[in-house]
């Protein structure tokens, strides 16, 4: 299960969060844990360099892209490498939507589209589409394979 996707700005304010199968009372902990993890480790990290953490049997992969940091949390089949795949898809989609590693402003300007992208990437706790062109088509209400 891909438990969470979370995108925060450089100050640790959460811009986007998508939880799957995480009870509401635990989300607060996850938020603060992830934000703290980012604050502790993401300084000076290159764009898209992947960092890893785990908590018990839950894996966390996170990175920085432009002004935003991206966290993905998963368990079972979504181990650190599967999460690395997922975060790769997310960063690719973000860059695609924003045209470059986003500034916070750019990210917010494209907020709606980004939400639609995430909707195509993570579907009920499972990674769905991984191809950025396909995602691009789907958020424009085009079929995954065009004729």
């Amino acid at each position: 299960m891909l438990l969470a996707v979370l995108i925060a700005n450089s100050e640790g304010n959460i811009l986007v969060e998508r939880f799957n199968g995480v009870p509401p009372e635990e989300r607060l902990h996850w938020r603060s844990f992830l934000v703290k993890l980012g604050a502790d480790n993401l300084r000076g990290v290159k764009n898209e360099e992947l960092l890893v953490a785990n908590h018990k049997s839950v894996y966390i992969v996170y990175t920085v892209l432009g002004d935003v940091s991206i966290f993905v949390v998963g368990k079972d089949e979504y181990d650190e490498l599967a999460l690395a795949e997922a975060i790769f898809v997310i960063t690719a989609a973000l860059k695609d939507v924003c045209g470059k590693p986003p500034t916070e402003r750019l990210f917010l300007d494209k907020y709606g589209k980004i939400c639609l992208c995430l909707d195509e990437i993570v579907w009920k706790g499972m990674l769905e589409n991984t191809d950025k062109d396909r995602i691009k088509r789907l958020i424009r209400l085009k079929p995954p394979t065009e004729f």
Binding site: E17, H29, S57, T145
Partner: protein, 1209 residues
């Protein structure tokens, strides 16, 4: 943006610099700013976006009336009243956005309203991640009327949000900013409100009809409608069955394989029809994947199998995932249904080259499940086909897939795998050979799909790796290259794979699997068992795994498993240098798992020691490693001592960060698992903590030395102290177990022979008889004197536990020691013997007097009751009387009373424990049998009930049955199965609720733990340990219950009492007479004493020479007996010197009287008749040389008599 800390996400979004907007500054002041950071910290009351400050209910009302009026407006297009200015106002509230949707949905001006929706309303609304049901009508209206694709995409997005279950209090299942609580909102005005229940059916109906719409123009919408439908709650059976219906009806039309060449993903060329088909296949399988599995349904399986052939790679992935899940339920059906897909050239072989990592992962799982299925034991051909595919995945270019394949080979599938499976996994990995089948599809695809497989890997495949290879070599090479990666997830995962390898290897060794000699050359394994020649039958189905004579020996290498492992571990160890602490933790876990019991663990220990010196380690990770030690122990109990040594590093290096409960549990389980030979060493390894010098605040020297305590801050110092307390408690609780010394173990009074000896000989004999117990006793005695106050308390309690559980002479030894401790006068003498821990221990005493008194009282009562019993028995024997029922009753009551008393201090097995000594067993049994009293009241034992002790936890049955055998010699009436029951009960108790640490360990072993992490730094200080704190609390409680003791001990608590120290020591340490025991308790047992004792009872052992039952204490000055040597150990140095001086000279003869009849056994011995007056000349080794006043019947005047038989006066 820069000062966004005081603004909301909505502020951030709406404050964009688009031209037509007014400056955001004015508007941010208009609205109450909600910090998204504040939302993070406290997702308190929702509805943050309303402009006015009102009560919550008012706000809700406002939103509701806003939305409802807007909804009404929306349904009445005539009254449509578009206010474009509204959207310009920023930041916008949810209510404003909702109103805009209603208005724009009803707008006649499609173009502008669409623009508004796409650019302003929908993106901002996305902040909430969800919308309320009242928007559904407008959304549905847009869905019907609007043609703009982007608007429609958003509509599907929001309809899906409405369908998905929303949590209470406005918390969406998916997170995001809390939205108003729709249902509560609807309740306010049930008449006009729109609830989920109202709109969900309409939404479902609409989406369902769209999902079934076959018009070509509608195709993309159809896919999105189906997708949105899957968000409907699966708890609703009606919707669920509708969904199944839709999905299967689509699959009915598109799933059947076509004759034509199927389209290949990524290539343009398929005709429109087949593309639509492919898209529908994808959408249907994706939806099916989100629906609950239906294992018994043949249609489900059938469609999933067909999915493997679909052209869409994501569809193939979903079908494989479904199949791998189905395979865990019914592997036979899945394997049969897949049929020839698995054969060379089949669809599953094609998946090997599918450009979808997740699909290949699912393939690995599927192959693993089928190839290991018991249900397929009769189809080895099928199993080996799947196995072949699995082994080929070891060559996969993606690390994720390769690692999954390795884990599958190793037998790790979920957390439930059995150790046989893991052991077999290690066997497979270290023994089997991969031979790629010469499938044509490999070549074709690898040339065709340049995109799919990195070209380098394809080349590898087609050239080099074609030759048969031992799996272990492949895997080792792959792992070594992964460990050179710069990617942290890859490093982490690789270390995890090594850890799993270690688990399987440990299982293989634990099960004593034959033929896992790691020194054998890997290339030669197969030669013996090779059953058929590959050249004869090159396309044999099981080609992938057959064992072929090694062709790769041409490489000239003589690799053994051991050498391959050694080189891998070298790479693993260097990974400890990784910057990321999580990777390092995983590496350490891997090292722990790869450690075998007979290797030297110096390297591992020093790695851990130096790692722990790094303050950046989070407590949770350290505890994880501690739990790994648990797991490692469970796999290989032989490693108990090694693991304890490693655990010691944790105890000394990071006492403040580790969970003391978990550490204690590790101690305990290791101790239990160490076996008879290792128990002593195991106990030593634990208690070595006690020998550590106290932490020196501020010292940073020797950070990497594991023998130095690094508790540089007060927090850790405190934690260390707690740990030492825990160790002391542990020692007291388990010393008897480790030493296999139980008062109730033997039917003969253990002290009988020993008590005959001289005191110092007794101690010597005691320690030679049981060095473990003697060692523990010594340590505890030292702790009772030299530790901090808390530690002294625990030490005294631990000693009491030991006294109660041990036979003589240990009990007596402790009894005397406690006595001294209660007086406390000696403290000052010893305080400077040890490095002070900085605590002012005061000039006066141990301060433990009041605590120890109840403990002493229990022992007193036991001793005096024993005396009385012996006396009674003698009386009965002499008078040749049977015991009357009345007398037995009295005896039994005393027995029970003492049992209760003892049980308050520590756990003892009630059915066995005999506070009155072994002689009482027979009488108590008689009484029990006569009155039909079951001995199994032990389950109500307060100690058991409160879970204080689990002494017998996991005791091997053999030991228990030995014990039964021994005890049944004297207690035949006792039910034999009782002990097992008790043991089980304790074990179960421990596992179920008793120990939080146990839960943690079990959780860890089961791989649980998706709960959110705690980030509070304060939590890293170790919690007070449950068990010994409980005990502490209990003791405090009892102290008040048993208030009869007097406060004598306070007498020595003034500084000037030092002068009397020596006297009081000697009186106690020479204290065969227990001078003060009853001096202040005039009444209780005095009447029972009698000097007219009958001889003949060999059970007089419990009587110390000079019975405790004595009206008047002898004067302190009478230097009669010398038992002080027993305390040389704890009071080493100057302390014992002073006793030495007290050794009596034999110049002054003493007088005494014979207590019992004694028959001389040798020429130099003297017959005694009870009551005879004697003059004691000398004492040698437990014997008095005495002279009688007049010659006895045999005419002898002088000779040797046992000390015990003489009462000195």
């Amino acid at each position: 943006m820069a000062e966004s800390s005081g603004t909301t996400l909505m502020d951030l979004i709406t404050s964009d610099g688009s031209s037509s907007k007014p400056p955001s500054a004015s508007s941010t002041t208009a609205a109450p700013p909600i910090d998204s950071g504040a939302n993070i910290m406290a997702p308190g009351p929702p509805v943050p976006m309303t402009v006015e400050r009102r009560s919550k209910k008012g706000t809700l009302m406002q939103i509701q009336s806003d939305t409802i009026s807007a909804a009404k407006a929306a349904f009445n297009p005539v009254r449509a009243n578009i206010m474009p200015q509204k959207q310009r106002k920023k930041p916008v509230s949810y209510a404003q956005l909702a109103r805009s949707i209603h208005e724009l949905a009803a707008s006649s001006d499609q173009k502008s309203s669409q623009r508004q929706l796409v650019h302003h309303v929908f993106p901002k609304l996305a902040v909430y991640n969800s919308v309320d049901p009242s928007l559904a009508p407008s959304l549905l209206m847009l869905d019907q009327q609007c043609e703009d694709r982007t608007v429609l995409r958003y509509v599907y997005y929001y309809l899906a949000r409405i369908l998905s279950d929303s949590g209470s209090q406005g918390l969406n299942p998916g997170g995001g900013i809390p939205t108003p609580n729709w249902d509560a909102l609807a309740d306010i005005d049930a008449g006009g409100g729109v609830t989920r229940a109202d709109v969900v059916p309409r939404v479902v109906d609409r989406l369902s009809s769209e999902a079934l719409n076959e018009e070509v123009e509608f195709h993309p919408r159809r896919l999105q409608a189906l997708k949105a439908l899957t968000y409907a709650p699966s708890s609703n059976l009606e919707i669920l069955s509708k969904l199944y219906e839709i999905v299967f009806s689509i699959l009915d039309k598109v799933a059947e394989p076509q004759k034509r060449k199927k389209g290949i993903f990524g290539t343009k060329g398929g005709d429109k029809e087949s593309i639509i088909r492919g898209n529908l296949q994808y959408a249907a399988l994706s939806a099916l994947r989100r629906l609950p599995l239906d294992p018994g349904n043949p249609a489900f399986l059938h469609r999933a199998v067909q999915g493997v052939l679909f052209s869409d790679p994501v569809a193939v992935r979903h079908s494989l995932e479904i199949l791998s899940e189905l395979a865990t339920k019914d592997p036979y059906a899945v394997a049969m249904a897949l049929g020839k897909h698995v054969q060379p050239g089949g669809a599953l072989q094609d998946v090997l080259h599918l450009h979808d990592v997740l699909a290949r992962i699912a393939l690995a799982k599927l192959c693993h499940t089928v190839s290991r299925a018991r249900a397929l034991d009769e189809r080895p051909d099928v199993k080996s086909q799947f196995n072949s595919v699995l082994y080929q995945l070891l060559l996969d270019p993606s690390e994720r897939v390769c690692f999954e394949a390795i884990l599958c080979v190793l037998g790790k599938f979920d957390h439930m795998e059995r150790s046989e499976e893991r052991a077999a996994g290690w066997y497979r990995l270290s023994r089997e050979i991969l031979k790629l089948p010469d499938s044509p599809s490999v070549k074709d695809l690898s040339s065709e799909e340049k995109d799919a497989v990195p070209p380098k890997a394809s080349k590898d495949k087609s050239s080099k790796i074609r030759r048969p290879q031992p799996l272990i070599k492949l895997v080792m090479r792959r792992l070594e290259s992964s460990f050179r990666s710069f990617s942290r997830p890859v490093l982490h995962a690789a270390a995890r794979v090594v850890q799993e390898m270690g688990k399987s290897r440990a299982a293989a060794f634990a099960l004593g699997l034959q033929d896992i000699d790691e020194a054998a050359e890997v290339n030669t394994f197969s030669e013996k068992n090779d059953s058929y020649d590959p050249d004869i039958n090159p396309t044999a189905p099981s080609e992938g795994i057959r064992r072929v004579p090694s062709i790769s020996s041409g490489m000239g290498s003589k690799d053994t498993v051991a050498s391959l492992l050694a080189s891998l571990m070298e790479v693993v160890r260097t990974t400890v240098a990784c910057e990321c602490v999580y990777v390092r933790a995983m590496v350490i876990k891997a090292l722990i798992w790869m450690q075998s019991p007979h290797d030297s663990f110096d390297e591992l220990e020093s790695i851990i020691a130096s790692e722990l010196s790094d303050p950046s380690w989070p407590a949770t990770l350290l505890n994880d490693i501690l739990l790994t030690l648990h797991a490692r122990f469970k796999a290989t109990p032989d490693m108990a001592v090694t693991l304890l040594e490693i655990a010691r590093v944790f105890a000394t290096k990071v006492p403040g960060k580790i969970d003391a409960d978990v550490l204690q549990l590790l101690w305990k389980t290791c101790l239990v698992g160490a076996g008879p030979d290792g128990k002593h060493t195991a106990l030593e390894a634990v208690t070595i903590v006690l020998d550590l010098p106290p932490p020196q605040p501020g010292s940073i020297s020797g950070l990497t030395s594991i023998d130095k305590v690094s508790a540089s801050d007060p927090k850790s110092a405190l934690a260390l102290q707690r740990l030492v307390q825990a160790a002391v408690w542990f020692l007291g609780e388990n010393a008897n177990y480790a030493a296999s010394e139980y008062a109730w173990e033997s039917a003969t009074p253990p002290g009988t022979a020993l008590m005959m000896l001289d005191a110092d000989k007794m101690v010597a004999a005691a320690s030679s008889r049981n060095p473990t117990l003697a060692g523990a006793l010594t340590r505890l005695q030292r702790c009772a004197f030299s530790g901090s106050w808390e530690i002294r308390i625990i030490a005294a309690q631990a000693l009491t536990t030991m006294a109660i559980r041990s036979g003589e002479p240990y009990r007596l030894q402790i009894y005397e020691f406690l006595h001294t401790l209660a007086q406390g006068g000696v403290q000052s003498q010893f305080s400077d013997m040890h490095t002070s821990n900085g605590e002012d221990q005061g000039a006066s005493g141990t301060g433990l007097g009041s605590l120890i008194s109840p403990m002493l009282k229990v022992l007193d009562e036991m001793y005096s009751a024993q005396d009385e019993l012996i006396k009674e028995m003698r009386n009965h024997d002499n008078a040749k009387k049977e015991w009357t029922d009345e007398e037995l009753k009295k005896l039994y009551e005393t027995h029970e009373r003492l049992l209760d008393l003892v049980s308050l201090f520590c756990y003892v097995p009630r059915a066995k424990y005999l506070p009155l000594g072994p002689t009482s067993a027979k009488l108590i049994d008689i009484y029990r049998t006569r009155h039909n009293i079951s001995a199994s009241t032990g389950l109500n034992d307060p100690a058991v009930a409160t879970g204080i002790s689990d002494l017998m936890y996991e005791t091997s049955k053999s030991r228990v049955s030995d014990l039964i055998y021994e005890t049944t010699k004297t207690k035949s009436a006792e039910p034999d199965d009782l002990d097992d029951d008790l043991v089980n009960f304790w074990a179960a108790n421990l596992g179920d609720d008793g120990a939080p640490a146990m839960n943690r360990v079990n959780e860890f072993l089961a791989g649980a733990g998706t709960d959110a992490p705690d980030v509070e730094e304060e939590n890293i200080i170790s919690r007070p340990s449950m068990s010994y704190d409980d005990m502490w609390a209990k003791t405090l409680l009892e102290t008040t219950e048993m208030e009869e003791y007097d406060a004598r001990s306070s007498g020595s608590s003034s500084p000037d009492s030092i002068g009397s120290v020596e006297t009081s020591i000697s009186s106690h340490f020479g204290g065969m007479n227990y001078p003060s025991l009853f001096s202040s308790k005039p009444s209780s047992n005095v009447s029972s004493q009698s000097k007219e004792r009958q001889s003949g009872s060999r059970y007089s052992a419990y009587e110390a020479p000079g019975s405790p039952i004595r009206e008047e204490p002898p004067p302190y000055s009478s230097p009669d007996h010398q038992r002080y040597e027993s305390f040389e150990n704890p009071l080493a140095g100057s302390g014992s010197q002073s006793f030495e001086e007290r050794r009596p000279s034999s110049s002054n003869p003493q007088f005494g009287s014979a207590l019992y009849d004694f028959t001389a056994g040798g020429d130099d011995e003297l017959n005694l008749t009870a009551g005879e007056e004697l003059e004691i000349e000398d004492e040698v080794d437990g014997w008095f040389y005495v002279k009688k006043k007049r010659p006895g019947r045999d005419g002898k005047m002088a000779g040797l008599v046992p000390v015990l038989y003489v009462s000195t006066s």
